[in-house]
């Protein structure tokens, strides 16, 4: 198990790029839908993080057949199948919350939501 250079770890570098891009979108953008898209990019990079180490050069997909002997690792595939479905469920829940926020505040921009909250707070302070 030799710990090599950049070429042997290219898949990890791609994964890290996608992960950080998703993280950046989540942190830097105020729009809630855009944040959710960034979150799903982040999630997809995790799929790659799991699947890429399971690949073997010269292997095939893990469906048993007599003419093949080398198969890629099936375990990460199973875990990621679960993760994809859960990811869509959480995305749908996030979008439902976004729609509710939009109905309550009339906006899905983070700054404007915080401003509205602060305005309500100030009004309550003045009243009391």
């Amino acid at each position: 198990m030799s710990s090599g250079g950049v070429v042997e770890h290219f898949s990890y570098i791609v994964t890290v790029f996608l992960m950080v891009a998703g993280l950046y979108v989540v942190m830097a953008r105020g729009n809630l839908i855009k944040k959710l898209v960034g979150l799903s990019v982040f999630q997809t990079s995790v799929y790659l993080l799991y699947i890429a180490p399971g690949k073997l050069i010269g292997g095939t997909a893990p469906i048993l057949a007599p003419q093949y002997t080398v198969y890629s690792n099936p375990l990460p595939h199973v875990l990621i199948l679960t993760a994809i479905v859960v990811g869509v469920a959480t995305l749908a829940l996030g979008l439902a919350i976004t729609v509710r926020i939009r109905e309550t505040y009339g906006t899905i921009e983070e700054d404007e939501i915080i401003a509205a909250d602060n305005a309500v707070q100030v009004a309550e302070d003045v009243r009391s």
Partner: protein
């Protein structure tokens, strides 16, 4: 893929962002086929590119489809992201090489899965439904909870004085 992510981070038009995320999902499915994960690729193309895009478009229909200009330059998140990337790449250099057959991931329990113990030729199906079926049970629990949460969140829109455009989620 890098291009689509770059444009995705830059464009203010949310409709373009949603379409780009669909394209990104299809590209990811292609990469997964190249990595021998055909089942995952099918799921990603159907669920990631199909269902997610439909859900996002449905949410866009109910919200405004233009992003406001950010008030301040995003230097702090950018700096934090680059620092995280540097740390992660440094950590990844210590991981086993790509496609190394002696890596620990290929040693532990996987050879037993590949022996066709329960007579199902597709190993992914065998592991999903038999060896790790408790995972699948947990997954369905999560999906059920999410569905119940969505219904609870969107149901209350019916009786107040709302504009009343209900979607079929």
């Amino acid at each position: 893929m890098a291009c689509s992510v770059w444009v995705l981070a830059r464009t203010p038009n949310l409709f373009a962002v949603v379409v780009l995320s669909g394209i990104y999902s299809f590209l990811m499915a292609t990469v997964l086929v190249a990595l021998d994960a055909v089942d995952v690729a099918m799921t990603e193309a159907a669920v990631g590119a199909g269902v997610s895009t439909v859900l996002l478009l449905g949410a866009l229909h109910l919200c405004k489809s233009e992003e406001a200009k950010p008030a301040h330059r995003p230097w702090l998140p950018l700096l934090l992201s680059v620092a995280t990337a540097a740390v992660l790449i440094y950590g990844a250099l210590g991981l086993p090489d790509f496609a190394d057959p002696n890596a620990p991931i290929h040693q532990h329990v996987v050879p037993r899965y590949l022996q066709n113990e329960i007579d199902v030729p597709n190993v992914v199906t065998a592991v999903l439904a038999s060896f790790r079926s408790y995972d699948t049970l947990g997954e369905t629990t999560v999906v059920f909870t999410a569905g119940a949460g969505i219904i609870a969140l969107l149901r209350r829109r019916k009786h107040p004085k709302s504009e009343g455009s209900s979607d079929g989620k």
